[in-house]
Each structure stands twice: as structure tokens, then as C-alpha cells.
């Protein structure tokens, strides 16, 4: 547990959009996919997942339909809408800019300042 980093506020939405962009997923599947694509480094809290999913759906970024899970259970699947895809692209870009900036800031050496 200790090796798993806490999610930064606001990043859960981005991770969900990314996870769903790779193919339609049900809620539990989103959780597994995030674990998988972050190689287990990030773990989304289960309680936070559903409010986030519904929020994104409410914003028109996700679409839903009922289907069958791998375990042959009925499940609600989330799919990225066109708006969601645009949002993912924008958010990814701004995240990249931010992380580059943070990284360069953190790697700055005192003498060069």
C-alpha cells in the first residue's frame, strides 16, 4: 500500500477518461485498467470512482450502456464521447505542460540559479 501514491486532486477524471479511451469499460473495469496502466503505482479509491464516473457522464464526456462483463455479469459500460475525446486531448496536453514544468523546476540546480 505504501508504494502506491495518492492521486492528486483532479487527476482521477483524467485517468478515467484515459482508461475508457482504450475501450468501453464498466466501473470495476475502470479501476482495474487504471491499476494496470499505472503499473499499480496509482490506486483510485473505490468510493471516489462512481461519483467521478457519473460526473463525467453528466458533463456529456462519457456515454453508457448496459452489457455483459468478462465474468458474465450484467454491468454498465462507459464509453468516451466525441466531447470526452476532445477533453482528454486538452487535459493530456495541459498535464504534459504542467509536469514538464514541474520536472524542470525540480531538477534545477542551485548554482545555476
Amino acid at each position: 500500500m505504501n508504494e502506491q501514491a495518492q492521486l492528486l486532486p483532479g487527476t482521477l477524471d483524467l485517468l478515467i477518461l484515459k482508461a475508457v479511451s482504450l475501450g468501453p469499460l464498466h466501473g470495476y473495469g475502470v479501476l482495474l485498467r487504471i491499476e494496470q496502466i499505472t503499473r499499480g503505482a496509482l490506486l483510485a479509491e473505490q468510493g471516489a470512482l462512481y461519483p467521478a464516473l457519473h460526473r463525467l457522464e453528466h458533463q456529456g464526456l462519457l456515454d453508457t450502456e448496459w452489457g455483459t462483463s468478462d465474468n458474465n455479469r450484467r454491468a454498465k459500460f462507459y464509453r468516451l464521447t466525441a466531447a470526452g475525446r476532445r477533453r482528454l486531448r486538452d487535459e493530456t496536453e495541459s498535464w504534459n505542460r504542467l509536469s514538464t514544468a514541474i520536472r524542470s523546476a525540480l531538477s534545477a540546480k542551485p548554482q545555476e540559479g
Binding site: H26, G27, Y28, G29, Q46, G47, Y50, P51, A52, H54, R55, E57, H58, Q59, G60, S69, N71, R73, R74, A75, K76, A83
Partner: protein
């Protein structure tokens, strides 16, 4: 945006479906997870499911957050809170009824008084740009008005005067005395209200020898002319002349301070009066030019006053025309009383709010355990506060809903009581702004006074509270102290109200004891006005008067006499007085005294005592030596240390050589203006000896055999035998007049008394609430005390002592408040100082008695505490 709305709408439309979906979505999550756990960890299915559930956490809470994220919650919560609140309120009907009644009693009267204040003080007068209209204290003659009009062009755009007179209208079944405004054309231009039909008086109508034309008021047109839409151009009979109707004013039109039926030009209907500068009988109204300030107008008027005083010292010396806004002048008389009443209802409202807060407080304390448990089960703090607020707001709205009908009831009572000062406002009704006022007050009360207890709830510390015993869950001493403080404030406020009421009651009692100077029993006053057309000359007037008294005195057991203006009827004639054998006084500086003409045995009939000398006899008639009777006030003021009998006086303003009148007697003082005012110096002279032909009106006073009024038709018949065209619709009994002069004070006193009573009841309820709550909280303690030997009387002392401590602090604060505040009502008092010690002690005693009474019930309960039961209760 659109997507969200659609989504929200979808959520609402398919509400149950949404909830089902949410449930099964989370269920499927847990099942899927359990499948994985079972597969990877080799756990039995049931154990895997259990772990999955624990991992997932509280599904309810997640669902709640989902709903919140979709914006469902707000409405959903509100509906739920309302349902829950209503259920809780139904479950404790006592509390609910007390809270709703408390608020309704606070808000209802408040709204009613606010309605009156709104109508009287706040609503703009029904004229265009009413803020431009001004008037001043003191009346003008028509010549004065002409001069002011001519000289004030730089600051007044228009101005004119009106004198209310009685005209005989003979177009109906019986001759009718109607209220006519003798006006000039400038009045209409100043008030600037367009006529509903036809036109107003123009300067062309308003000239000596002008056409006999009349403008009708809306009520007169409706009632006596059946609202004839083609009335313009037709004629109506007024005082034996036919007047052509040229216009009808709209219903909203009133001449300030008067209620008038028709308007005619003074110069046409009464040219004699219009030609004399000294006939100051017109109230004048003026319109400021745009951009002109009151101060500029005042400066301008000061110049005009000075010029007129110099040009006409005899008539205009005492001029002091200070323009005041019309609104202020119109409302000036009622303003102090209304503001006092408004302050009183505000106090009642404050007390009601404090009680309401106290009730909520007690309730929140007793519900703290419930709230704490809800918080422990995951109820969000904000959500709990909201729940508490919803409940108090719900209560406030219900209180408001009960208050509004109550307000309209109070309003109807207020108007039915019809104090004279409100008489000209025939239609005061609750308008939307007042309803809004009531609702806003009730809502604010709910929110503000619901907030403190709600805050209390939200601070509840889950673990602490749950650990504590129910007995100690008193919301802490802080909560109870707050309630006590509220009650102390209530007592103080109520005491101020009681003190004010006490002072008014004492004033009223003092006033009732004032001797009016005459005996009103079984005396009626018939106001008669002789039309100028048939009674222009004095001999004709005297002939009519004599014949009238002869006829009335021949009726069985009936005495009749007449006087110019009967006491307390609101009109009088004043004259400047000159004395024989005293150094001449500068013109315009002569003393003003009341002047009454009488005929018949007026003084004996009215039982006005003769102090010295004699009163008039039938021999004091025309062609005989002129005589006068003076009152004691005049003797005191002008004949101190001398015997006035045999001295001579005359009217200083008369033309020609002085007509000396010899003083033959002194009579007792009579309250002519009001019971509260001292009597003014007065001179009585015989009608038969006057040379003033304009004294065509009189009050015929008749002392009847009984007070049934059964004689009135016979009296009317006798008068109409003499002249069938005399209107006799203005008959009042002297007792009525006396009552009317007290009516306004009685009205103020009754209302303030009502509010003070309300306040006392509310305070009693508040004290009762606090004490009985504290008794119920201390049952255990009292049980122990009794068990260790306390006697019942000690318990009684314990409980009552608690109430008394509050009462003493409250009354002390209240007295300080009353001392500071009753000064403001000096104008409304008579014969008592604003800090009358007797009144103050009485109300303090009353307050203490109320507190004791309110403590008695809980004290009895405390005395009956059975120690065995109280202790086992733990």
C-alpha cells in the same frame, strides 16, 4: 450546458430507474470484484463477497455522492428535509403550535400596523411629483393668496387655497348639507390632478361675477348623481342657485386634510369674503418650481411676509409662513402615535422572535442525541444544519401563513375603530408589498433564529455526546444560559411596553376626569347653515333664529338655545379684542380671543356656571345697549385684580367707530378645542346684537327629555316648517363629541394595551418554557435534594428563585429602557410625566406577578417530584 440539463432532466424523469441502475451498477462492481478475489486468492465465494464489500465501503454514501455529483441532491434533499421536518413537527404538536402561534402573534399585528403606516406615512400623496407640494401653518385670505401668487413666481409654479364650507344641496329627497370646497383656480393647478370628466375651474371661471360652475368629487358624483356619465353641462341646485357641472374629479383626488363633495370658486359663491384681507380662512397649498429647495422657498416667503406685514399691519402683522412638505403636514398629527405603535409591535415581534429562538433552542438540545447519532451514521454536517434550518423555516412560513389572516383581521379592527386621524383614509387595504413584508419578516425570523440552534447541532461532537449520559445532555450550561438571557431581554422589552401603556392609561384617566365645563347629558347639537340667498341680511337671520327657538322650546320637556360653535366641534371664530380706557395697541398686536354669538338661555342649558354678574336676557336685543359675557380665562388674563363687570370692550378689527360692548357677566371656562388644552379667553355676545352678517351658521343645542333621540324627527319637523330647504344632516350629541375628542387617545391606548398584553403573554410563555425545561432537566437533582431532606417549600423557593432572578434583571433593564424611551411619547401624555413613579412601580409589580404565575406551574411539578422515581429514572 445543454447536455447537463438534459442529463438532470433524464435523472429526474426516470428517477426510480436511475436509482435501480445505480444500485445494480454498484452491486455488479462488488460481484465482479468478488469473482476476481475468489479466482486469484482461492477464497470461498462468501468470504470473497464479504471482502469485496468491505473494500467497496459504504455503498449508500457512494450513491449519495453520485447523486450529489449529478446535482440531484439539492432538490431531493430539500423535498426530503421538508417531508422529514413536517413529520417531526407533527410528532410534537405542542411545540409546533407554540412556535407557530408565537410567530403569528408577533407578525400579524406587525403587518397590520405596517399597512397603516405604509398608507399614512410612506405612500406618496396622490399627486404628480408630490415632493414639490408645500403648505404652511396658518390660513390666508383670498387677497393674500393673490399677492403671494404674484410675488412668488420665482419659486412657486402654482398655488391656491381652499376653505371647507357647507352648501345646501336640494337635488335629493331632503335638503342636504354637503361639504363644499370654496377654492380658487390656483388650487387645481397646484395639485395638478387631471379631471376624470370635463375640466377643472379655470382662471376664467374664478373671478368676481363669474359663471356659477361646479366641479364634483367622485364620491358625490357616484352617490348623489348616480355616476351620470353625461353630467358635464347639466346643472345641480346648490344654495338656491343652479350650478353648471363642468367636471368630475377622479376617485383618487382629495384635497389634503379635507373630505369635500364639490368645488366652487370662492369669488363666485362668496364674493364678500374674497374681498377682505382679514378673512384668513383658506388653507393654501403651493407647488415648488422644479429645482427649488424648501430653504429657498422659505427665504422667499420670509420676504413676502415682511412686505405684507408692512403694507397691511392690521391684518398681516403676525405672518410667519414657513413652507413644510405637504406629506409632513398631512401626517404630522398621527405620526407620533403611529410611530409609537410601530415601535410597540416591533417590540412584540422581537419578543416573539426571542421566544421562537428559545423554543428552537430547547428543541435542538433535546434532539442533540438524535442529531449526534445521525452524524455518526454519516450524515454530513452541512446536511444536518440544513435539516435544522429547513425545519425552522418551515415553522416560520407556517407562522407567516397564520399571521396574514390575523393581520387582515387586526387591520379590519383598526379601521373599524376608525380614529379621527385615519378617517380620511377610507380604503386602507393590505397590498402586495405589505404581504411581502410579512413573509420576509417571518422568513428572516426562521433563518436567523433557526441558525443559532442549527449551529449548536452542527457543533455536536459525536464521540463526546454519545459517551455522555442522556441526563447531562442539556446542551451545556451555555445553551440554557442563552435561553435565560433571551427571557431576560423579553422581560425588559415587555416592561418598556407596559410602562408606555401604563402612562397612556393614566393620561386617559386624567383626561376623563377633566371637567369639560358643561354638562353633555341628553344634549344634541344641530348644525344649521342659513343659505346666503335667503338670509343675507341680519334681520332675516334674527327672525329665523327667534322663530326656531320659540318652536323648539314649545316642544314638551325640551330646552333649546343656540351658539355659533358648540364646544369640541372643531371650529371657532376668533377676533382681535380692544379694551376701553387702555393705551392703544399697535395695529396687529391686539390679543386674539374666541368669539361666540349665542341666543336663548345657552349657559343654563349647557350648565355652564355663571361666576358673577348676569347672563343674557331676551332684553339684550337689537337696538338695546351692546353687552358681552366673558369667560374666566379672559377675566384672569386681562382683568387680573380688577372687576371686569361694567368694563367695555370692542372688536379691534371692525370698520367705523368702535361698537363698545359692556361686560355683564363672567361664566366658567369651557373646553372648546380639546379636553387636553386649557380654555382660551372667550367673549360671548347675543346673536341679536351682532353686525356680522356672515355669521349665518349656528349650532342649535337641545337638551332633550331622554337620550333616546326619539325627539329628533319632531325637532327636524319644526325647523323644516320654518324653512323646508335647510339641511339638517349634521346632528351630533354632545356626549358623542366628547367621546370623539377622546377617541384617538382611547384608540392609541387600546392598541398599545393590546400589544403590551400580547407581549406579557409571550413573555409568560417564554418564562414558563425556560423554567419548566430547567425543572425537567433537574428532576434528578431535585429528587436527591428531597431525598436528603429538602422540604417542598425549599423546592418551591429554588424554582421561583430562578424565575425571580431573571425577572429582577429583566425589570431593572426594562426600567432603564423605559426611562430612556417614554420621554419620546411626551406629546401623547396628559397630566403625567414620562417617568411617573407610580406607573413605573405598578408595571414592575405587574411584571413580577406575571413571572411568579409563569413559574408556578413548573414549581408545582418540581414540588411533586417523587425522589424514588426520580432516582430510579437514571
Amino acid at each position: 450546458m445543454f447536455a447537463r440539463l438534459r442529463s438532470l432532466w433524464g435523472t429526474f424523469r426516470h428517477r426510480s430507474e436511475f436509482e435501480r441502475d445505480l444500485d445494480s451498477e454498484m452491486q455488479s462492481h462488488i460481484e465482479n470484484r468478488a469473482d476476481d478475489l475468489a479466482r486469484s486468492g482461492g477464497l470461498p465465494r462468501s468470504e470473497a463477497l464479504r471482502r469485496a464489500r468491505i473494500e467497496f465501503g459504504c455503498a449508500e454514501a457512494h450513491q449519495d455522492r453520485v447523486r450529489e455529483s449529478r446535482g440531484v441532491n439539492w432538490f431531493e434533499d430539500l423535498a426530503q428535509d421538508l417531508r422529514f421536518g413536517a413529520r417531526m413537527l407533527r410528532k410534537s404538536p405542542g411545540f409546533t403550535a407554540a412556535a407557530i402561534l408565537t410567530l403569528a402573534l408577533g407578525i400579524g399585528p406587525n403587518t397590520a400596523i405596517f399597512t397603516v403606516i405604509d398608507a399614512v406615512l410612506l405612500r406618496p400623496l396622490p399627486y404628480a411629483n408630490p415632493q414639490q407640494l408645500v403648505t404652511w401653518h396658518g390660513n390666508e385670505s383670498e387677497l393674500d393668496i393673490d399677492d403671494i401668487q404674484a410675488q412668488s413666481r420665482s419659486f412657486f409654479s402654482a398655488g391656491g387655497g381652499v376653505n371647507p364650507e357647507v352648501l345646501t344641496y336640494t337635488g335629493g329627497a331632503e335638503p342636504l348639507g354637503i361639504h363644499a370646497g370654496y377654492v380658487d383656480a390656483g388650487l387645481f393647478r397646484a395639485l395638478d390632478v387631471p379631471p376624470m370628466l370635463g375640466r377643472e375651474l379655470s382662471p376664467d371661471d374664478d373671478r368676481f361675477g363669474g359663471p356659477r360652475v361646479v366641479v364634483l368629487s367622485y364620491p358625490f358624483w357616484r352617490e348623489y348623481l348616480d355616476g351620470d356619465p353625461n353630467i358635464v353641462g347639466k346643472t345641480i341646485p346648490l344654495d338656491d342657485n343652479r350650478y353648471t357641472v363642468i367636471g368630475v374629479m377622479p376617485a383618487s383626488f382629495v384635497v389634503p386634510q379635507y373630505s369635500l363633495d364639490v368645488f366652487v370658486s370662492l369669488r363666485v359663491v362668496y364674493p364678500e369674503a374674497a374681498r377682505y384681507r382679514g378673512v384668513h380662512f383658506m388653507k393654501s397649498y403651493w407647488r415648488l418650481k422644479p429645482g427649488v429647495t424648501l430653504a429657498q422657498a422659505a427665504a422667499g416667503m420670509a420676504t413676502i411676509d415682511a412686505r405684507m406685514a408692512k403694507d397691511y399691519p392690521g391684518e398681516e402683522k403676525g405672518r410667519h409662513s414657513v413652507p413644510v412638505p405637504l406629506q409632513q403636514s398631512v401626517t404630522g398629527d398621527v405620526r407620533p402615535a403611529l410611530l409609537l405603535l410601530f415601535a410597540a409591535v416591533c417590540v412584540v415581534l422581537l419578543i416573539a422572535c426571542a421566544n421562537f429562538a428559545g423554543l428552537l433552542m430547547a428543541r435542538s438540545v433535546s434532539r442533540q442525541r438524535e442529531m449526534t447519532i445521525r452524524a455518526a451514521l454519516g450524515g454530513g454536517r452541512r446536511r444536518l444544519v440544513r435539516q435544522a434550518l429547513t425545519e425552522s423555516t418551515l415553522l416560520a412560513v407556517l407562522g407567516g401563513a397564520v399571521a396574514l389572516p390575523l393581520a387582515s383581521l387586526c387591520l379590519r379592527l383598526l379601521i373599524a375603530a376608525k380614529p379621527a386621524a385615519l378617517a380620511h383614509l377610507n380604503k386602507i387595504s393590505m397590498d402586495p408589498s405589505v404581504v411581502v413584508f410579512g413573509l420576509v419578516v417571518s422568513l428572516l425570523t426562521g433563518v436567523v433564529f433557526g441558525l443559532a440552534p442549527a449551529w449548536n447541532v452542527s457543533r455536536a461532537d459525536v464521540t463526546d455526546t454519545l459517551k455522555q449520559e442522556a441526563r447531562t445532555l442539556t446542551g451545556g450550561p451555555a445553551g440554557h444560559n442563552f435561553r435565560k438571557a433571551l427571557v431576560v431581554v423579553e422581560i425588559a422589552l415587555a416592561l418598556v411596553l407596559l410602562a408606555g401603556t401604563g402612562l397612556l392609561i393614566k393620561s386617559f384617566a386624567r383626561l376623563r376626569w377633566v371637567d369639560p365645563g358643561f354638562d353633555p347629558a341628553r344634549v344634541i347639537a344641530i348644525n344649521v347653515q342659513l343659505p346666503v340667498t335667503r338670509y343675507a341680511e341680519i334681520p332675516k337671520q334674527i327672525q329665523f333664529r327667534r322663530a326656531l327657538l320659540d318652536r323648539l322650546n314649545s316642544l314638551p320637556r325640551t330646552q333649546a338655545a343656540m351658539v355659533g360653535d358648540v364646544p369640541l366641534n372643531g371650529s371657532e371664530v376668533t377676533h382681535s379684542l380692544g379694551f376701553d380706557g387702555r393705551p392703544p395697541v399697535a395695529e396687529g398686536d391686539e390679543p386674539e380671543v374666541d368669539s361666540f354669538c349665542v341666543m336663548g338661555d345657552y349657559f343654563r342649558l349647557m350648565r355652564i356656571p355663571l361666576r358673577t354678574g348676569r347672563t343674557f336676557t331676551p332684553e339684550d336685543r337689537e337696538d338695546h345697549p351692546l353687552v358681552a359675557v366673558i369667560n374666566e380665562a379672559l377675566a384672569r388674563k386681562f382683568y387680573a385684580g380688577q372687576n371686569p363687570i361694567g368694563q367695555r370692550i370692542h372688536w379691534a378689527r371692525e370698520t367705523g367707530p368702535p361698537r363698545w360692548m359692556t361686560i355683564i357677566g363672567i361664566v366658567g371656562d369651557v373646553k372648546q378645542y380639546s379636553l387636553a388644552e386649557p380654555a382660551y379667553p372667550a367673549v360671548f355676545t347675543p346673536f341679536a346684537q351682532t353686525n356680522e352678517a356672515w355669521r349665518r351658521w349656528m349650532s342649535v343645542v337641545v337638551r332633550m327629555p331622554d337620550s333616546s333621540g326619539s325627539m329628533i324627527p319632531a325637532i327636524k319637523g319644526e325647523i323644516w316648517t320654518l324653512d323646508s330647504q335647510i339641511p339638517l344632516n349634521r346632528i351630533q350629541s354632545m356626549e358623542e363629541l366628547l367621546g370623539l375628542s377622546l377617541a384617538e387617545r382611547q384608540f392609541n391606548m387600546a392598541l398599545l394595551g393590546l400589544f403590551a398584553g400580547l407581549a406579557v403573554i409571550l413573555v409568560a410563555v417564554g418564562i414558563y418554557g425556560v423554567i419548566s425545561y430547567s425543572v425537567s432537566q433537574r428532576t434528578h437533582e431535585i429528587g436527591i435534594r428531597i431525598a436528603v431532606g429538602a422540604r417542598r417549600i425549599d423546592v418551591l423557593k429554588l424554582v421561583i428563585g430562578q424565575g425571580l432572578r431573571m425577572a429582577i434583571v429583566g425589570t431593572a433593564a426594562g426600567i432603564l429602557g423605559a426611562v430612556a424611551l417614554t420621554r419620546l411619547m411626551t406629546k401623547l401624555l396628559f397630566g403625567v410625566t414620562p417617568n411617573d413613579p407610580a406607573t413605573f412601580s405598578a408595571v414592575v409589580l405587574l411584571m413580577l406577578a406575571v413571572v411568579l404565575l409563569a413559574c408556578l406551574l413548573p414549581a408545582r411539578r418540581a414540588m411533586r417530584v417523587d425522589p424514588v422515581i426520580a432516582l430510579r429514572h437514571e
